[in-house]
Protein backbone atom coordinates (compact mmCIF):
# COMPACT_ATOMS: atom_id res chain seq x y z
CA UNK A 1 0.00 0.00 0.00
CA UNK A 2 1.47 3.29 -0.93
CA UNK A 3 1.39 6.13 1.54
CA UNK A 4 0.57 9.63 0.58
CA UNK A 5 2.57 12.26 2.40
CA UNK A 6 0.37 15.09 3.40
CA UNK A 7 1.97 18.45 3.61
CA UNK A 8 0.33 21.73 4.28
CA UNK A 9 0.43 24.03 1.30
CA UNK A 10 2.69 26.94 2.08
CA UNK A 11 1.86 30.02 0.07
CA UNK A 12 3.95 30.58 -3.02
CA UNK A 13 6.44 33.31 -2.31
CA UNK A 14 5.30 36.39 -4.12
CA UNK A 15 7.80 38.88 -2.81
CA UNK A 16 9.54 40.95 -5.40
CA UNK A 17 13.11 39.99 -6.31
CA UNK A 18 15.52 41.20 -3.68
CA UNK A 19 17.94 42.56 -6.25
CA UNK A 20 15.29 45.00 -7.43
CA UNK A 21 15.98 46.87 -4.19
CA UNK A 22 19.18 48.04 -5.82
CA UNK A 23 17.29 50.07 -8.41
CA UNK A 24 17.22 52.91 -5.88
CA UNK A 25 20.39 55.02 -5.91
CA UNK A 26 20.50 55.25 -2.11
CA UNK A 27 20.26 51.46 -1.88
CA UNK A 28 23.15 51.13 -4.33
CA UNK A 29 25.26 53.49 -2.21
CA UNK A 30 24.37 51.51 0.93
CA UNK A 31 25.09 48.17 -0.75
CA UNK A 32 28.41 49.49 -2.05
CA UNK A 33 29.49 50.65 1.41
CA UNK A 34 28.43 47.38 3.04
CA UNK A 35 30.14 45.32 0.31
CA UNK A 36 33.33 47.38 0.66
CA UNK A 37 33.19 46.94 4.45
CA UNK A 38 32.80 43.17 4.13
CA UNK A 39 35.61 42.99 1.57
CA UNK A 40 37.93 44.96 3.85
CA UNK A 41 37.32 42.55 6.72
CA UNK A 42 38.67 39.79 4.48
CA UNK A 43 41.61 41.58 2.87
CA UNK A 44 42.65 43.78 5.82
CA UNK A 45 45.83 41.76 6.55
CA UNK A 46 46.80 41.88 2.86
CA UNK A 47 46.39 45.62 2.35
CA UNK A 48 47.24 47.00 5.81
CA UNK A 49 50.65 48.69 5.41
CA UNK A 50 51.77 47.93 9.00
CA UNK A 51 50.99 45.60 11.86
CA UNK A 52 48.20 47.36 13.84
CA UNK A 53 49.97 46.57 17.13
CA UNK A 54 53.49 47.62 16.07
CA UNK A 55 54.72 50.53 18.18
CA UNK A 56 57.29 53.00 16.85
CA UNK A 57 57.82 55.78 19.36
CA UNK A 58 60.08 57.57 16.89
CA UNK A 59 57.07 58.02 14.61
CA UNK A 60 54.50 58.96 17.31
CA UNK A 61 51.71 61.42 16.46
CA UNK A 62 52.72 61.92 12.84
CA UNK A 63 50.19 63.69 10.63
CA UNK A 64 48.85 61.88 7.55
CA UNK A 65 51.57 61.44 4.95
CA UNK A 66 52.58 59.02 2.18
CA UNK A 67 54.24 56.83 4.82
CA UNK A 68 51.16 56.79 7.05
CA UNK A 69 48.02 57.73 5.11
CA UNK A 70 45.92 58.20 8.28
CA UNK A 71 48.86 59.33 10.44
CA UNK A 72 50.07 57.60 13.60
CA UNK A 73 48.88 57.52 17.20
CA UNK A 74 50.72 58.35 20.43
CA UNK A 75 52.57 55.01 20.31
CA UNK A 76 53.55 55.46 16.69
CA UNK A 77 51.08 52.81 15.51
CA UNK A 78 49.76 53.22 11.98
CA UNK A 79 46.18 54.54 12.11
CA UNK A 80 45.21 53.19 8.68
CA UNK A 81 46.21 49.66 9.68
CA UNK A 82 44.29 49.97 12.94
CA UNK A 83 41.19 51.26 11.14
CA UNK A 84 41.43 48.46 8.57
CA UNK A 85 41.75 45.78 11.25
CA UNK A 86 38.87 47.47 13.10
CA UNK A 87 36.53 46.29 10.33
CA UNK A 88 37.03 42.76 11.65
CA UNK A 89 35.92 43.65 15.18
CA UNK A 90 32.95 45.50 13.74
CA UNK A 91 31.91 42.49 11.66
CA UNK A 92 32.41 40.20 14.65
CA UNK A 93 30.15 42.44 16.73
CA UNK A 94 27.46 42.29 14.05
CA UNK A 95 27.70 38.50 13.84
CA UNK A 96 27.71 37.91 17.60
CA UNK A 97 25.45 40.68 18.95
CA UNK A 98 23.01 40.78 16.05
CA UNK A 99 23.09 36.98 15.99
CA UNK A 100 22.19 36.73 19.69
CA UNK A 101 19.40 39.29 19.33
CA UNK A 102 18.11 37.62 16.19
CA UNK A 103 18.04 34.17 17.75
CA UNK A 104 16.61 35.14 21.16
CA UNK A 105 14.18 37.72 19.74
CA UNK A 106 12.91 35.40 17.02
CA UNK A 107 12.36 32.54 19.47
CA UNK A 108 10.63 34.80 21.98
CA UNK A 109 8.43 36.49 19.39
CA UNK A 110 7.63 33.22 17.67
CA UNK A 111 6.59 31.43 20.86
CA UNK A 112 4.66 34.44 22.19
CA UNK A 113 2.77 35.02 18.96
CA UNK A 114 2.12 31.36 18.22
CA UNK A 115 0.90 30.21 21.62
CA UNK A 116 -0.81 33.48 22.64
CA UNK A 117 -2.67 33.69 25.98
CA UNK A 118 -0.47 33.67 29.11
CA UNK A 119 2.66 32.70 27.21
CA UNK A 120 2.25 35.83 25.10
CA UNK A 121 1.48 37.98 28.15
CA UNK A 122 4.52 36.69 30.05
CA UNK A 123 6.85 37.13 27.07
CA UNK A 124 5.61 40.63 26.32
CA UNK A 125 5.95 41.72 29.97
CA UNK A 126 9.55 40.53 29.84
CA UNK A 127 10.00 42.58 26.70
CA UNK A 128 8.41 45.59 28.44
CA UNK A 129 10.86 45.25 31.33
CA UNK A 130 13.85 45.13 28.99
CA UNK A 131 12.51 48.12 27.07
CA UNK A 132 12.09 50.04 30.34
CA UNK A 133 15.84 50.69 30.38
CA UNK A 134 17.53 53.17 28.09
CA UNK A 135 19.43 50.77 25.79
CA UNK A 136 22.96 51.80 26.69
CA UNK A 137 22.18 51.70 30.41
CA UNK A 138 21.00 48.10 30.24
CA UNK A 139 24.04 47.13 28.20
CA UNK A 140 26.26 48.79 30.80
CA UNK A 141 24.55 46.96 33.67
CA UNK A 142 25.06 43.63 31.92
CA UNK A 143 28.71 44.48 31.25
CA UNK A 144 29.04 45.49 34.90
CA UNK A 145 27.88 42.01 35.86
CA UNK A 146 30.00 40.11 33.34
CA UNK A 147 33.10 42.32 33.44
CA UNK A 148 34.38 44.66 30.72
CA UNK A 149 35.50 42.87 27.54
CA UNK A 150 34.66 42.94 23.86
CA UNK A 151 32.83 39.61 23.96
CA UNK A 152 30.80 40.62 27.02
CA UNK A 153 29.85 43.91 25.39
CA UNK A 154 28.59 41.96 22.37
CA UNK A 155 26.50 39.70 24.60
CA UNK A 156 25.11 42.75 26.38
CA UNK A 157 24.15 44.47 23.14
CA UNK A 158 22.62 41.26 21.85
CA UNK A 159 20.40 41.01 24.93
CA UNK A 160 19.46 44.71 24.71
CA UNK A 161 18.43 44.35 21.05
CA UNK A 162 16.38 41.19 21.69
CA UNK A 163 13.05 42.96 22.48
CA UNK A 164 13.15 44.81 19.16
CA UNK A 165 13.19 41.53 17.24
CA UNK A 166 10.71 39.87 19.60
CA UNK A 167 8.09 42.56 19.03
CA UNK A 168 8.43 42.56 15.26
CA UNK A 169 8.36 38.77 14.96
CA UNK A 170 5.43 38.45 17.34
CA UNK A 171 3.42 40.93 15.25
CA UNK A 172 4.26 39.00 12.11
CA UNK A 173 3.35 35.65 13.69
CA UNK A 174 0.02 37.03 14.90
CA UNK A 175 -0.76 37.98 11.32
CA UNK A 176 0.36 34.64 9.88
CA UNK A 177 -0.99 32.16 12.42
CA UNK A 178 -4.62 32.50 11.35
CA UNK A 179 -3.89 32.17 7.64
CA UNK A 180 -5.26 29.15 5.79
CA UNK A 181 -1.96 27.40 5.26
CA UNK A 182 -1.21 27.43 8.98
CA UNK A 183 -4.72 26.17 9.78
CA UNK A 184 -4.22 23.46 7.17
CA UNK A 185 -0.91 22.47 8.75
CA UNK A 186 -2.65 22.21 12.11
CA UNK A 187 -5.49 20.19 10.57
CA UNK A 188 -3.13 17.50 9.25
CA UNK A 189 -1.64 17.17 12.72
CA UNK A 190 1.61 19.06 12.30
CA UNK A 191 3.40 19.57 15.60
CA UNK A 192 3.62 23.08 17.02
CA UNK A 193 7.38 23.11 16.52
CA UNK A 194 7.08 22.00 12.91
CA UNK A 195 4.38 24.55 12.13
CA UNK A 196 6.42 27.33 13.72
CA UNK A 197 9.68 26.46 12.03
CA UNK A 198 8.41 25.23 8.65
CA UNK A 199 5.46 27.49 8.01
CA UNK A 200 5.32 30.50 10.30
CA UNK A 201 9.01 31.42 10.49
CA UNK A 202 9.75 31.37 6.73
CA UNK A 203 6.77 33.64 6.20
CA UNK A 204 8.14 36.10 8.75
CA UNK A 205 11.48 36.25 6.98
CA UNK A 206 11.09 39.66 5.37
CA UNK A 207 10.81 41.77 8.53
CA UNK A 208 13.67 39.74 10.07
CA UNK A 209 15.89 40.58 7.11
CA UNK A 210 15.01 44.29 7.26
CA UNK A 211 15.45 44.42 11.03
CA UNK A 212 18.78 42.56 10.94
CA UNK A 213 20.14 44.99 8.36
CA UNK A 214 19.01 48.07 10.27
CA UNK A 215 20.25 46.63 13.56
CA UNK A 216 23.69 45.86 12.10
CA UNK A 217 24.51 49.57 12.00
CA UNK A 218 23.15 50.09 15.50
CA UNK A 219 25.21 47.19 16.81
CA UNK A 220 28.42 48.61 15.33
CA UNK A 221 27.84 52.00 16.92
CA UNK A 222 26.82 50.54 20.30
CA UNK A 223 29.78 48.16 20.48
CA UNK A 224 32.12 51.03 19.61
CA UNK A 225 30.31 53.18 22.21
CA UNK A 226 30.89 50.63 24.96
CA UNK A 227 34.54 50.27 23.93
CA UNK A 228 34.84 54.06 23.97
CA UNK A 229 33.59 54.03 27.57
CA UNK A 230 36.14 51.35 28.48
CA UNK A 231 33.55 48.58 28.78
CA UNK A 232 34.14 46.75 25.52
CA UNK A 233 37.35 46.02 23.66
CA UNK A 234 40.38 46.86 25.75
CA UNK A 235 43.60 48.50 24.51
CA UNK A 236 45.61 47.73 22.45
CA UNK A 237 42.80 46.11 20.42
CA UNK A 238 42.28 47.95 17.12
CA UNK A 239 38.54 48.27 17.79
CA UNK A 240 37.24 51.61 16.48
CA UNK A 241 35.71 52.69 19.78
CA UNK A 242 38.80 51.71 21.70
CA UNK A 243 41.06 53.53 19.21
CA UNK A 244 38.90 56.65 19.65
CA UNK A 245 39.08 56.38 23.43
CA UNK A 246 42.84 55.91 23.40
CA UNK A 247 43.32 58.94 21.16
CA UNK A 248 40.93 61.14 23.15
CA UNK A 249 43.75 62.77 25.09
CA UNK A 250 45.66 63.72 21.94
CA UNK A 251 43.03 64.62 19.37
CA UNK A 252 43.04 68.37 20.07
CA UNK A 253 46.57 68.58 18.73
CA UNK A 254 46.45 65.52 16.44
CA UNK A 255 43.07 65.66 14.70
CA UNK A 256 43.60 62.47 12.68
CA UNK A 257 43.59 60.22 15.75
CA UNK A 258 39.86 60.62 16.37
CA UNK A 259 38.77 61.52 12.86
CA UNK A 260 39.43 58.34 10.88
CA UNK A 261 38.09 55.64 13.22
CA UNK A 262 34.95 57.76 13.77
CA UNK A 263 34.55 58.23 10.04
CA UNK A 264 34.79 54.47 9.57
CA UNK A 265 31.99 53.88 12.11
CA UNK A 266 29.87 56.59 10.48
CA UNK A 267 30.29 55.12 6.98
CA UNK A 268 29.46 51.57 8.03
CA UNK A 269 26.37 52.71 9.96
CA UNK A 270 25.31 54.88 7.02
CA UNK A 271 25.72 51.95 4.65
CA UNK A 272 23.58 49.60 6.73
CA UNK A 273 20.97 52.34 7.31
CA UNK A 274 20.67 53.09 3.59
CA UNK A 275 20.41 49.41 2.72
CA UNK A 276 17.98 48.68 5.57
CA UNK A 277 15.76 51.64 4.65
CA UNK A 278 15.69 50.53 1.04
CA UNK A 279 14.80 46.94 2.01
CA UNK A 280 12.06 48.15 4.33
CA UNK A 281 10.59 50.44 1.69
CA UNK A 282 10.83 47.70 -0.92
CA UNK A 283 8.98 45.09 1.10
CA UNK A 284 6.35 47.48 2.47
CA UNK A 285 3.79 48.21 -0.27
CA UNK A 286 2.56 51.36 1.51
CA UNK A 287 6.04 52.83 1.61
CA UNK A 288 6.70 51.74 -1.97
CA UNK A 289 3.76 53.82 -3.13
CA UNK A 290 5.13 56.86 -1.31
Amino acid sequence: MSTVELTAPSPAPSRPGILRVLRRPTARVGAFIVAAFLLLTVIAPEIAPYDPYDQDFGAALQAPSFDHFFGTDQYGRDELSRVLYGTRTALLSILVADGIALFLGTMLGLIAGFYGKWVDTAAMRLVDVLLAFPYLLLAMIIVAALGPSLFHSMIAIGIVATPVYARVIRGQVLAVRTTEFVLAARAIGGSAMRIMLRHVLPNSFTPILVMATLQAGTVVVETAGLSFLGMGAQPPSPDWGSVLAEGQGYFLTSWWIATFPGLAIFLVVLGFNLLGDALRDHFDPRRRKE
Binding site: P134, L137, M231, Q248, A258, T259, L263, L270
Partner: protein, 334 residues
Amino acid sequence: MTQYIIRRIIQLAFVLVGVSVVVFFTLHVLPGDVAQMLLGDRATTEQVARLRHDLGLDQPIYVQYFRFAADALDGDFGMSLHSSHPAFTDVWDAFPVTIQLSLAALFVAVAGGVPMGVLAAVWPHSRFDNTVMTVTLFGVSMPIFWLGLMLILVFGATLDWLPIGSLMPIGMEPPRVTGMSVVDSVLSGQLNLVGLSLYHLILPACTLGTIPMALITRITRSEMLSMRAQDHVRTARAKGLSEPRVVLKHVLRNALIPVVTVIGLQLGLLLSGAVLTETIFSLPGLGRLLINAILDRDYPVVQAAALLTAFVFVVVNLVVDLSYAYLDPRIRYK
Protein backbone atom coordinates in the same frame (compact mmCIF):
# COMPACT_ATOMS: atom_id res chain seq x y z
CA MET B 1 -9.90 57.72 29.98
CA THR B 2 -9.77 57.10 33.76
CA GLN B 3 -9.90 53.33 33.19
CA TYR B 4 -7.11 53.61 30.66
CA ILE B 5 -4.95 55.58 33.09
CA ILE B 6 -5.54 53.05 35.89
CA ARG B 7 -4.71 50.16 33.57
CA ARG B 8 -1.49 51.82 32.44
CA ILE B 9 -0.44 52.64 36.01
CA ILE B 10 -0.94 49.00 37.05
CA GLN B 11 1.17 47.93 34.08
CA LEU B 12 3.79 50.48 35.14
CA ALA B 13 3.93 48.99 38.63
CA PHE B 14 4.59 45.52 37.17
CA VAL B 15 7.26 46.86 34.87
CA LEU B 16 9.00 48.60 37.78
CA VAL B 17 8.99 45.38 39.80
CA GLY B 18 10.48 43.66 36.75
CA VAL B 19 13.10 46.39 36.46
CA SER B 20 14.12 45.96 40.10
CA VAL B 21 14.35 42.18 39.59
CA VAL B 22 16.58 42.63 36.52
CA VAL B 23 18.87 45.12 38.29
CA PHE B 24 19.14 43.02 41.46
CA PHE B 25 19.70 39.64 39.82
CA THR B 26 21.99 40.91 37.06
CA LEU B 27 24.34 42.35 39.64
CA HIS B 28 24.04 39.24 41.81
CA VAL B 29 25.51 36.94 39.20
CA LEU B 30 28.71 38.91 39.60
CA PRO B 31 31.89 36.93 39.67
CA GLY B 32 33.58 37.26 43.08
CA ASP B 33 32.36 37.92 46.58
CA VAL B 34 31.22 41.42 47.49
CA ALA B 35 32.32 40.99 51.12
CA GLN B 36 35.76 39.83 50.01
CA MET B 37 35.96 42.77 47.64
CA LEU B 38 35.04 45.25 50.38
CA LEU B 39 37.53 43.87 52.87
CA GLY B 40 40.38 43.29 50.44
CA ASP B 41 42.63 40.29 49.90
CA ARG B 42 44.14 40.33 53.39
CA ALA B 43 40.85 39.74 55.23
CA THR B 44 40.51 36.50 57.14
CA THR B 45 37.77 33.97 56.40
CA GLU B 46 36.05 34.87 59.70
CA GLN B 47 36.02 38.57 58.83
CA VAL B 48 34.55 37.85 55.41
CA ALA B 49 31.92 35.53 56.95
CA ARG B 50 30.98 38.20 59.53
CA LEU B 51 30.60 40.89 56.87
CA ARG B 52 28.58 38.53 54.67
CA HIS B 53 26.28 37.99 57.64
CA ASP B 54 26.07 41.74 58.39
CA LEU B 55 25.24 42.51 54.76
CA GLY B 56 22.68 39.70 54.63
CA LEU B 57 24.61 37.92 51.88
CA ASP B 58 24.24 34.59 53.68
CA GLN B 59 20.46 34.79 53.34
CA PRO B 60 18.56 33.01 50.54
CA ILE B 61 18.56 35.05 47.33
CA TYR B 62 14.83 35.81 47.41
CA VAL B 63 15.14 37.17 50.97
CA GLN B 64 17.99 39.38 49.78
CA TYR B 65 15.82 40.60 46.90
CA PHE B 66 12.88 41.52 49.14
CA ARG B 67 15.24 43.35 51.49
CA PHE B 68 16.74 45.16 48.53
CA ALA B 69 13.29 46.11 47.17
CA ALA B 70 12.05 47.32 50.58
CA ASP B 71 15.20 49.42 51.11
CA ALA B 72 15.01 50.76 47.55
CA LEU B 73 11.48 52.02 48.21
CA ASP B 74 12.97 54.06 51.06
CA GLY B 75 15.77 55.28 48.78
CA ASP B 76 18.30 53.24 50.73
CA PHE B 77 20.78 51.47 48.42
CA GLY B 78 23.59 51.29 50.95
CA MET B 79 26.81 53.30 51.01
CA SER B 80 28.90 54.03 47.95
CA LEU B 81 32.07 51.94 48.11
CA HIS B 82 33.96 54.79 46.48
CA SER B 83 32.76 58.02 48.11
CA SER B 84 31.41 56.51 51.36
CA HIS B 85 28.25 58.64 50.94
CA PRO B 86 24.83 57.04 50.70
CA ALA B 87 24.68 55.73 47.12
CA PHE B 88 21.35 57.40 46.41
CA THR B 89 22.70 60.78 47.55
CA ASP B 90 25.53 60.56 45.01
CA VAL B 91 23.07 59.61 42.29
CA TRP B 92 20.55 62.28 43.26
CA ASP B 93 23.29 64.94 43.23
CA ALA B 94 24.41 63.97 39.73
CA PHE B 95 20.91 63.59 38.32
CA PRO B 96 20.09 67.32 37.73
CA VAL B 97 23.13 67.66 35.44
CA THR B 98 21.82 64.86 33.23
CA ILE B 99 18.27 66.23 33.28
CA GLN B 100 19.49 69.70 32.32
CA LEU B 101 21.61 68.30 29.49
CA SER B 102 18.76 66.11 28.22
CA LEU B 103 16.25 68.97 28.29
CA ALA B 104 18.66 71.32 26.52
CA ALA B 105 19.30 68.66 23.87
CA LEU B 106 15.57 68.09 23.50
CA PHE B 107 15.12 71.84 23.00
CA VAL B 108 17.80 71.84 20.28
CA ALA B 109 16.20 68.82 18.64
CA VAL B 110 12.66 70.23 18.63
CA ALA B 111 13.63 73.82 17.75
CA GLY B 112 15.65 72.57 14.81
CA GLY B 113 13.74 69.43 13.82
CA VAL B 114 10.13 70.61 13.63
CA PRO B 115 10.69 73.73 11.46
CA MET B 116 13.06 71.83 9.17
CA GLY B 117 10.57 68.98 8.78
CA VAL B 118 7.72 71.42 8.09
CA LEU B 119 9.69 73.35 5.46
CA ALA B 120 10.90 70.14 3.82
CA ALA B 121 7.27 68.97 3.56
CA VAL B 122 6.07 72.33 2.22
CA TRP B 123 8.56 72.03 -0.67
CA PRO B 124 8.77 68.24 -1.16
CA HIS B 125 11.46 66.93 -3.50
CA SER B 126 12.93 70.41 -3.81
CA ARG B 127 16.63 71.10 -3.40
CA PHE B 128 15.96 72.17 0.20
CA ASP B 129 14.04 68.97 0.93
CA ASN B 130 16.76 66.79 -0.61
CA THR B 131 19.44 68.60 1.39
CA VAL B 132 17.49 68.24 4.64
CA MET B 133 16.84 64.56 4.03
CA THR B 134 20.50 63.90 3.24
CA VAL B 135 21.72 65.81 6.28
CA THR B 136 19.25 64.03 8.56
CA LEU B 137 20.32 60.68 7.14
CA PHE B 138 23.88 61.55 8.06
CA GLY B 139 22.60 62.73 11.46
CA VAL B 140 20.99 59.40 12.37
CA SER B 141 24.10 57.50 11.29
CA MET B 142 26.50 59.64 13.32
CA PRO B 143 28.15 58.02 16.38
CA ILE B 144 27.42 60.56 19.10
CA PHE B 145 30.83 60.20 20.76
CA TRP B 146 32.58 60.95 17.47
CA LEU B 147 30.30 63.91 16.74
CA GLY B 148 31.11 65.34 20.18
CA LEU B 149 34.85 65.02 19.59
CA MET B 150 34.56 66.62 16.15
CA LEU B 151 32.51 69.54 17.49
CA ILE B 152 35.11 70.07 20.21
CA LEU B 153 37.85 69.95 17.59
CA VAL B 154 36.16 72.43 15.26
CA PHE B 155 34.31 74.87 17.54
CA GLY B 156 36.46 74.52 20.63
CA ALA B 157 40.05 73.88 19.61
CA THR B 158 40.24 75.26 16.06
CA LEU B 159 37.82 78.21 15.99
CA ASP B 160 37.90 78.79 19.76
CA TRP B 161 34.26 79.88 19.75
CA LEU B 162 32.88 77.64 22.49
CA PRO B 163 34.11 76.08 25.75
CA ILE B 164 34.87 72.36 25.47
CA GLY B 165 34.08 71.00 28.90
CA SER B 166 32.62 71.39 32.40
CA LEU B 167 29.42 73.16 33.41
CA MET B 168 30.94 76.51 34.41
CA PRO B 169 34.39 78.13 34.48
CA ILE B 170 36.31 77.14 37.62
CA GLY B 171 35.46 79.44 40.53
CA MET B 172 32.37 80.88 38.84
CA GLU B 173 29.83 78.24 39.95
CA PRO B 174 26.54 79.67 41.25
CA PRO B 175 25.36 78.58 44.74
CA ARG B 176 23.84 75.09 44.40
CA VAL B 177 20.06 75.07 44.72
CA THR B 178 18.75 72.66 42.09
CA GLY B 179 22.05 71.29 40.77
CA MET B 180 21.23 72.57 37.27
CA SER B 181 23.79 75.22 36.39
CA VAL B 182 21.41 77.31 34.26
CA VAL B 183 18.58 77.32 36.82
CA ASP B 184 20.98 77.99 39.69
CA SER B 185 22.51 80.87 37.72
CA VAL B 186 19.05 82.35 37.14
CA LEU B 187 18.23 81.94 40.84
CA SER B 188 21.49 83.68 41.77
CA GLY B 189 20.24 86.75 39.89
CA GLN B 190 23.58 87.27 38.12
CA LEU B 191 23.09 87.68 34.40
CA ASN B 192 26.71 86.96 33.52
CA LEU B 193 26.43 83.54 35.22
CA VAL B 194 23.28 82.77 33.22
CA GLY B 195 25.14 83.63 30.01
CA LEU B 196 28.16 81.53 31.01
CA SER B 197 26.07 78.52 31.96
CA LEU B 198 24.21 78.63 28.63
CA TYR B 199 27.49 79.17 26.78
CA HIS B 200 28.93 76.02 28.36
CA LEU B 201 25.80 74.05 27.51
CA ILE B 202 25.79 74.76 23.75
CA LEU B 203 28.26 72.11 22.54
CA PRO B 204 27.03 69.24 24.76
CA ALA B 205 23.38 70.02 23.93
CA CYS B 206 24.10 70.18 20.19
CA THR B 207 26.02 66.91 20.38
CA LEU B 208 23.26 65.12 22.25
CA GLY B 209 20.44 66.77 20.28
CA THR B 210 21.69 65.91 16.79
CA ILE B 211 20.31 62.38 16.42
CA PRO B 212 16.88 63.25 17.94
CA MET B 213 16.78 66.34 15.70
CA ALA B 214 17.35 64.19 12.63
CA LEU B 215 14.61 61.77 13.71
CA ILE B 216 12.16 64.56 14.54
CA THR B 217 12.82 66.26 11.19
CA ARG B 218 12.14 63.05 9.30
CA ILE B 219 8.97 62.14 11.20
CA THR B 220 7.61 65.72 10.96
CA ARG B 221 8.16 65.75 7.20
CA SER B 222 6.64 62.32 6.74
CA GLU B 223 3.55 63.12 8.87
CA MET B 224 3.09 66.49 7.17
CA LEU B 225 3.20 64.87 3.73
CA SER B 226 0.67 62.20 4.64
CA MET B 227 -1.59 64.81 6.28
CA ARG B 228 -1.46 67.05 3.21
CA ALA B 229 -3.22 64.34 1.21
CA GLN B 230 -6.18 64.14 3.62
CA ASP B 231 -9.71 65.17 2.60
CA HIS B 232 -10.05 67.86 5.25
CA VAL B 233 -6.96 69.61 3.90
CA ARG B 234 -8.37 69.54 0.38
CA THR B 235 -11.62 70.95 1.75
CA ALA B 236 -9.71 73.74 3.49
CA ARG B 237 -7.98 74.62 0.23
CA ALA B 238 -11.29 74.44 -1.66
CA LYS B 239 -12.74 76.95 0.79
CA GLY B 240 -10.09 79.36 -0.43
CA LEU B 241 -7.91 79.49 2.71
CA SER B 242 -4.42 80.82 2.24
CA GLU B 243 -1.59 78.26 2.00
CA PRO B 244 0.12 79.31 5.27
CA ARG B 245 -3.21 78.97 7.07
CA VAL B 246 -3.84 75.55 5.54
CA VAL B 247 -0.35 74.39 6.50
CA LEU B 248 -0.35 75.78 10.03
CA LYS B 249 -3.97 75.16 11.08
CA HIS B 250 -4.96 72.05 9.19
CA VAL B 251 -1.80 70.15 8.33
CA LEU B 252 0.69 70.95 11.09
CA ARG B 253 -1.74 70.70 14.00
CA ASN B 254 -2.80 67.19 13.04
CA ALA B 255 0.65 66.10 11.96
CA LEU B 256 2.09 67.11 15.31
CA ILE B 257 0.17 64.44 17.28
CA PRO B 258 2.52 61.58 16.34
CA VAL B 259 5.45 63.99 16.38
CA VAL B 260 4.74 64.79 20.05
CA THR B 261 4.94 61.08 20.80
CA VAL B 262 8.23 60.73 18.98
CA ILE B 263 9.58 63.73 20.86
CA GLY B 264 8.59 62.16 24.19
CA LEU B 265 10.13 58.85 23.24
CA GLN B 266 13.47 60.51 22.53
CA LEU B 267 14.14 60.58 26.26
CA GLY B 268 15.55 57.04 26.20
CA LEU B 269 17.88 58.05 23.41
CA LEU B 270 18.85 61.18 25.32
CA LEU B 271 19.54 59.34 28.60
CA SER B 272 21.70 56.82 26.75
CA GLY B 273 23.44 59.53 24.78
CA ALA B 274 23.96 61.58 27.94
CA VAL B 275 26.29 58.86 29.26
CA LEU B 276 28.58 59.36 26.28
CA THR B 277 28.17 63.14 26.09
CA GLU B 278 29.00 63.60 29.77
CA THR B 279 32.13 61.52 29.30
CA ILE B 280 33.31 63.58 26.33
CA PHE B 281 32.57 66.96 27.92
CA SER B 282 33.60 66.00 31.47
CA LEU B 283 30.17 66.82 32.92
CA PRO B 284 29.51 65.51 36.44
CA GLY B 285 26.20 63.85 35.56
CA LEU B 286 24.58 60.50 36.13
CA GLY B 287 26.18 58.92 33.09
CA ARG B 288 29.71 59.65 34.19
CA LEU B 289 28.90 58.61 37.74
CA LEU B 290 27.53 55.31 36.44
CA ILE B 291 30.57 54.60 34.27
CA ASN B 292 32.94 55.30 37.12
CA ALA B 293 30.79 53.18 39.45
CA ILE B 294 30.87 50.26 37.01
CA LEU B 295 34.61 50.52 36.47
CA ASP B 296 35.18 50.84 40.26
CA ARG B 297 32.69 48.00 40.92
CA ASP B 298 30.70 50.36 43.14
CA TYR B 299 27.50 48.31 42.94
CA PRO B 300 25.27 50.29 45.34
CA VAL B 301 25.71 53.32 43.06
CA VAL B 302 25.16 51.21 39.93
CA GLN B 303 21.90 49.86 41.37
CA ALA B 304 20.66 53.27 42.50
CA ALA B 305 21.54 54.94 39.18
CA ALA B 306 20.01 52.14 37.12
CA LEU B 307 16.76 52.09 39.08
CA LEU B 308 16.37 55.87 39.10
CA THR B 309 17.03 56.16 35.36
CA ALA B 310 14.67 53.30 34.50
CA PHE B 311 12.00 54.80 36.80
CA VAL B 312 12.23 58.20 35.10
CA PHE B 313 12.26 56.59 31.67
CA VAL B 314 9.18 54.47 32.39
CA VAL B 315 7.24 57.38 33.92
CA VAL B 316 8.02 59.64 30.96
CA ASN B 317 6.89 56.90 28.58
CA LEU B 318 3.66 56.61 30.56
CA VAL B 319 3.07 60.36 30.33
CA VAL B 320 3.72 60.22 26.58
CA ASP B 321 1.29 57.31 26.20
CA LEU B 322 -1.37 59.13 28.21
CA SER B 323 -0.93 62.35 26.27
CA TYR B 324 -1.20 60.41 23.03
CA ALA B 325 -4.36 58.67 24.27
CA TYR B 326 -5.75 62.07 25.26
CA LEU B 327 -5.01 63.50 21.81
CA ASP B 328 -6.15 60.43 19.88
CA PRO B 329 -9.23 58.68 21.35
CA ARG B 330 -8.70 55.58 19.17
CA ILE B 331 -5.77 54.55 21.39
CA ARG B 332 -7.72 54.35 24.64
CA TYR B 333 -10.63 52.40 23.15
CA LYS B 334 -8.37 49.67 21.71
